[in-house]
Amino acid sequence: MTVEELEQRQTDELDRQRGLENRIYCCTAAGCISSGADRIRQALTDEVKAQGLEGKVEVCGTGCMGLCSRGPLVRTSKDNALYGNLEPSQAAAVVRGAAEDKEKLAPSRLDTSAPFFSKQKKVVLANSGVVDPEKLADYIAAGGYQALAKVITEMSSQEVIEEVKASGLRGRGGAGYPTGLKWELVARQPATPKYVVCNADEGDPGAFMDRSVLEGDPHRVLEGMAIAGYAVGAQQGYIYVRGEYGLAIQRLQTAIKQAERDKLLGNRVLESGFHFRVDLRIGAGAFVCGEETALIASIEGRRGQPRQRPPYPPEAGLWDKPTLINNVETYANIPAILNNGSESFSSVGTATSKGTKVFALAGKINNTGLIEVPMGTTLRTILFDIGGGVPGGKEFKAAQTGGPSGGCIPAEFLDLPVDYESLSKIGSIMGSGGLIVMDNTSCMVDVARFFMEFCMDESCGKCIPCRAGTVQMHDILNRITSGDATEHDMKLLEELAKLLREASLCGLGQTAPNPVMSTLRYFREEYEAHVRDHKCPAGHCSLNGKQGGAK
C-alpha cells in the first residue's frame, strides 16, 4: 500500500460506515466476554438477519469500553446509547431501536454524561471501544497508520526523536524514564542491527491496562513500534507478551498478519525504503521477565534472569545489540504525539508528568474497569468521581498502586495529584497503572504478606538478598499475621527491608520491600496490634479464626 492508497482506504471505509443506518458495537474484551458478550453479539447478529437489516445495520466487536463491572456492554452509533448488563433477549429491541424499544431498554441504558465518562480523557484508549480490533480497515478509518505515513514521508529520524522528546512522554511501565532520551540513546549507537522490543509482560497483579490496549487496539501498538523502529534505525521488533493473555496474543497475531499483507509492516513499509518486521514472543509465566534484562534473556530462549546493569539495553540488549525497550502504553502514545503534535500532548498533565495515564480500577470499588485520566488528576477524583467510591457503605482505607513494587496510599493523601513525583514522595510508585482499593475490612499486614509471598515465589534466585531475603521477610509477616511475632521481629523486618532495597540485583528485589515499608509507614498501629495484642483490627487475619478470604 502507498500513502495515497492508505488515504483512499480511509475515505472508502468512512463512506461505507456513513452509509450504514446503525452500527452496533459489542465490547469483546476479556472482561465482557466472561460476562457473556459472545452470546450478545451472536444474538444481535441473528436479530439483524431476522429483521432483514443486513447491509443497513452492522454488528461489530470492539476493545474494552471501560466499565467492566457493568459488562457486557453494547453501544449503538445511531443514538450513541450505551447499554450495560444486556441479556440476549434484549437484542431484538436494540436492533429495532424504535421509541417503545428505547423505553423498554431504559433500565439498561448507562448515562454517558456520568463522571465515570466525563472526567476521563482518552488518548491511548481513544480507539478502544470504537474500532474493531480484528479489522484493519476500522483502524485506518480512525486515522490509523497516518502517523507512520507522515513520519516516513516527511520526517527524518532525528526529527521524530525531537518530537517525542518535546512531548515530555515518560515510560509508562512504571519507572518513568523519558522516552525521547531513551530513543536518542539507541539511535546514537553505532552497532547494528538494532532491535525494538515491546514489553507486554504485564505481571503486576491487579493491572490489566496493557492487556486491554493489546486486545482493543493492537494496530496502534504496532504503529508505535514501527515509528520507534524508524527513529532508532531498527528493522526488527519483538513483542514479549504474557502467555496468560490468550486473546491478546490471538489479536496481535491477526493484526501483524493484516499489517504485513498491506505493507504497513515488513519489507518496504508503505513502498518506502524502510523495513520493519514484528514478531511475537510468548512468555511462560515468570514475573521477573518484566525486568528488561530478564526479558531479553527470555526472548533469547534462556531462563529469565536479570543481569547487572550497566550496560543498559540501549547499548547492549538483545544479542548484545542496541535495543529499545518500551512498555505497551508508551508505544500506544506515539501515534497520537506525531499526529497531533507534541504541544497538544504536553498541554495535558503536570509540569513533569505529561499526557494521560491509563489505570485499572479494581478491588473494593463500585466501577471496576479501565480508565484514562490526565496526569495530575487527584486520587479522590479517580476513586470517588470516576470509580464511584467504595461499595456497601464501607470506609475507604487505602489504595494500592504499582503492584508488588508499589505501596499503599492512605486516605490522608486522597487529594494528592497522581504523577510520578508525588507518588514516589509518599513511598509508592506510579507503576504500570493497577489501582486496587481496599476498605476497612482489608488487613494491611495481610496485604503486605500477600505481596511478599508473590515476590518470594517470583524471585528468580540469582542474587541472595532477594532469594533469601524475601523468604525471611515472608516468614516474619506470617508470624505477625498468626500472632506469634515479637517486637524483635518488627526490628528485623525493617532491617531486612533496607537490606533488600540496597543489595538486590534487579528491580524485583529492590522494590520487594516497598509494600512492607509503606504499610509500616502509614499503618504501623496495625502491625503493633498484631504483635502486642494479638489482634487483627480489620478482623481479617487467621488471628480471628478466619483464614483470609472471608468477607
Partner: protein
C-alpha cells in the same frame, strides 16, 4: 522447530508448541528438543523448570485456575482455592488423585474487574462464589 530454523533462541517457542501438542513435557521429549536445537539437555531442563507455564507431569481432564492476584485476593480468592483443594483432594499445582482435575493458582489473569475470577477449562468465570465452584465440580462428577 523447522519454522525457527532449529535455532536455540527459539527454545521457549518450541516448548510452548510441544506442550500444546502433547499436554505436558516428558523427559524423552525434552531430550529430543535438546538434540534437535543442539542445546545441552541441562539448559532445556533448566528453562523448562524455570517457567511456571511448563508442566512435567500429565494434566487432569479438567483444569481449574483460581486467580490469586491482588484484586481477587481481597475479594476472597483464598476461600475459593481452599474449596477446590478440599473437593479435589490435592494442593494447588497438582492434579486430583483420580486424574480428573488439575488445580492451580494464577498470579493474576488480568480480569481484575471481575474479581474473584476463576479459569475453568479455559473459560473465565466472573465474581465466583465457593458454591458456584462446588456446582461446577459436581457437574463434572467430582466426588
Amino acid at each position: 522447530m523447522s519454522r525457527h530454523q532449529y535455532s536455540g533462541d527459539a527454545l521457549i517457542e518450541v516448548l510452548h508448541t510441544a506442550q500444546e501438542l502433547y499436554g505436558f513435557l516428558t523427559p524423552d521429549l525434552l531430550k529430543t528438543i535438546a538434540r534437535k536445537l543442539r542445546l545441552p539437555p541441562s539448559r532445556v531442563l533448566g528453562v523448562t523448570t524455570f517457567y511456571h507455564f511448563f508442566s512435567l507431569a500429565p494434566k487432569g481432564e479438567h483444569s481449574i485456575t483460581v486467580c490469586t492476584g491482588t484484586a481477587c485476593y481481597v475479594a476472597g480468592a483464598l476461600g475459593l482455592l481452599q474449596t477446590v483443594e478440599k473437593r479435589c483432594h490435592c494442593k494447588s499445582g497438582a492434579t486430583s488423585p483420580d486424574g480428573k482435575v488439575s488445580v492451580s493458582a494464577a498470579r493474576c489473569i488480568g480480569s481484575c474487574g471481575l474479581a474473584p475470577a476463576v479459569i475453568f477449562d479455559g473459560n473465565i468465570m466472573a465474581r465466583v462464589k465457593p458454591e458456584d465452584l462446588s456446582a461446577e465440580l459436581d457437574r463434572i462428577g467430582v466426588q
